[in-house]
Assembly symmetry: C2
Homo-oligomer: 471 residues x 2
Amino acid sequence: MNFTIQNVLIPIPTSDDYTTTDVQVIDGIITAIAPGLEVVGEAINGQNKLLLPGFVNAHTHSSEMWQRGIIPPLPLELWLAQLYDFAPLDAEKVYLSALGTAVETLLTGGTTVVDHLVLIPDQELETIATAVRAYREVGIRAFIAPLIQDQSLNAGIPSGDTQQNHEAFFRSTQETLEVLEAAIKQFHDPEDGISILAAPTGIQLCSDALFTGCIELGEKYNLCLHSHLLETKAQAMLAQEKYGCTGVEHLRNLGYLSDRTSLAHCVHLTDNDIAILAETQSTVVHNPLSNLRLGSGIAPILKFRQAGVNVSFGCDGASSNDSQDLLEAIKIGSILHNTTDLEYEHWITPRQAVEMAALGGARGLNMEQEIGSVTVGKKADLVLYDLSNLSLLPRTDPIGLLVLGRPVNVVDSAWVNGKQVVRDGTVTTVDIQELRTELFQHSQWDSKGKSATVEEIEAHYRYVMGLGIFK
Amino acid sequence: MNFTIQNVLIPIPTSDDYTTTDVQVIDGIITAIAPGLEVVGEAINGQNKLLLPGFVNAHTHSSEMWQRGIIPPLPLELWLAQLYDFAPLDAEKVYLSALGTAVETLLTGGTTVVDHLVLIPDQELETIATAVRAYREVGIRAFIAPLIQDQSLNAGIPSGDTQQNHEAFFRSTQETLEVLEAAIKQFHDPEDGISILAAPTGIQLCSDALFTGCIELGEKYNLCLHSHLLETKAQAMLAQEKYGCTGVEHLRNLGYLSDRTSLAHCVHLTDNDIAILAETQSTVVHNPLSNLRLGSGIAPILKFRQAGVNVSFGCDGASSNDSQDLLEAIKIGSILHNTTDLEYEHWITPRQAVEMAALGGARGLNMEQEIGSVTVGKKADLVLYDLSNLSLLPRTDPIGLLVLGRPVNVVDSAWVNGKQVVRDGTVTTVDIQELRTELFQHSQWDSKGKSATVEEIEAHYRYVMGLGIFK
């Protein structure tokens, strides 16, 4: 676990420049950054390479990998029905897609993943154990957020002026919280790189009691909180129907928002909502590809940043993206917002994007003091990029190329907690060829139309969203 | 030039399904598509592979590759000043960036490139000759559109209520048209895969006489026309200042719009402009990454499609993207528009995106009868994708994975006019290692602030765009 990276390019903070230096890591901690250091442990040749802190893939759902590429262009509420109709209910598949998610994250600059993990009904703890096993094998730092709800899927669509009766969820709020607490006791082990988050799906499918129960478990076990929030116009309408206020106001009133809460999406927020997120020091996880793919909208990221809200990046599940390429999420999540404000002084620079992806991600998980920058005393969650790769040539500004370009095969090495997990561009901890074979054999080429559930709920969705009669 | 691809997956037109079949190519022409064909020429194993028509990278500027990653977030008008201040004026660099552009296009599904080529002043024909040499060596089908203008750069910014005097361009309109005609005579050779387009930069930098001269050369030499059009809000304002009507109306009045005209960007159009493009059967080249990066806006692509306007995809130059990954442009150019229309029946499906990228691109170059689909009698501009690549697993809908995912290293083989130019994932016609070495040696890591010209014009730009005093 000791190594010294020699003659590596690193960005100089508070400037646009770079310096060539050595970085020393002992027992998983960055112990020195200076030119000409004594070599401790393995000597790593950093020449023509760029060293950055590992990024955080701050919101995903690993098992969606099984459905990537196949769900037709649909808005979230219908897409979700299609997703659930064909969701894999099989521990072996959960294992393989967690491996795949971790591998794609590592090979695109991520060293931490937040998996809002879809649970197999009545096998919740087994599902979590399977994901834990996969992440331990790969060696990525993992925050597993068991995806819990206590209301049925149809409850997520506004009623409008209609009367809707939603069937009860198959499990009570109390039982769901008991499952979560069992998972915390069994798997929460931050020192070993596996943490549990308390993470209700979102206001659209959860009671106040579930949110409150999660706050209590968070306090009891010292956990961070996570949730989806106001991803779609329909959810913003639903919040008004359910609470008579915005979803942000309601979560603030429940006490759910704090500097240990990260919230995925945050697309449909008012200016007052943004002020609340700033005041409570909550983190927004921006999932730009998913927001485009599902037509959810463009999150007001520049407004968040001007208000002082911490923003990080996520890929979101691979059925709504349909990838786990963190560099892609960072690129699109940066440049997308240039169209929302003519004042280019507000636009996100490549350096700022890197900071959001690394330190912003760490902050949302209460890890700001431990990871998120190449700083003496912090854990060695590091990524070394090969600047001689064709996609990063000709040589210009390395971080500009990485963020604004389309880097391919550029991660030379990655370390998590000082342990090397990528070497010479290859994940060393799992057998990638075997993973490919398994993914291939557990699937078949197919193209599906709309699912039965979509057909069932589509007319109401169209009515309440003002889309008129379905053609 | 004869080969037979065996047992390859191809999409069945007018359905969502696929079939496994053989495809036979003789003398560069697709001669048969059916299962169990007699092997003519080389037998190509198509198992676990998808065959699609080659895509068209329908708008780029190859030499911008030298500045990718380095220009700070700026709107087009300021970005352009920065671009020109540091543009490479060196034939060797033009050669290398044309090679790089072709290689990245081929490795992301493109078999045709439209290079709106920046010309070195007083070395215009040498610049074009250099790009022709590069494209011939790589073997990509190339449409070279020499970038011509007859007004100085500052003329591209609206005057608003100020008096602006623009210095004359260094060369007269007539001389510029003579250079273009010389290029046509010397290099236009469609049968050999090199075509010249008549392509004034755009209304913002060109006189009516230059447009009219290009129309005449187009008629005389049977060329297609190309131009930038209404990329930014500033250009839409400028059109009103110059012509008292929209840019589309003015080009229609000049006779520039026809089924042989392709127009890059088309972001700021009125509904009447869209009707004019439909009526004249003009093609829109959508460059989504560039439009985001430069904050130009979101082109009304769904409206174009509903009006029956042909739309294709371009990467645009690598300083405004900052890549030449055609699959990235196709993905973002598809999903971006889901945020502009709640009616998801209008959203672009992956199959439609493939058709836009291939047949749509061909149509904009008057090549619809010759390329753009896997059809008996058409030229063999084909791409074979490896569906066992990790980024296309697990197996679901192959075209969905290709368009909505983030495919990496998936192009197994590519043919242009029946000649193989990619084999086993590697471009076979040029030495990629040598190209990397050359690009590396001709450049250095650097990070630049704003250029002198940007500083000079920024105050006026901010004033006329209503951005207020520069901080």
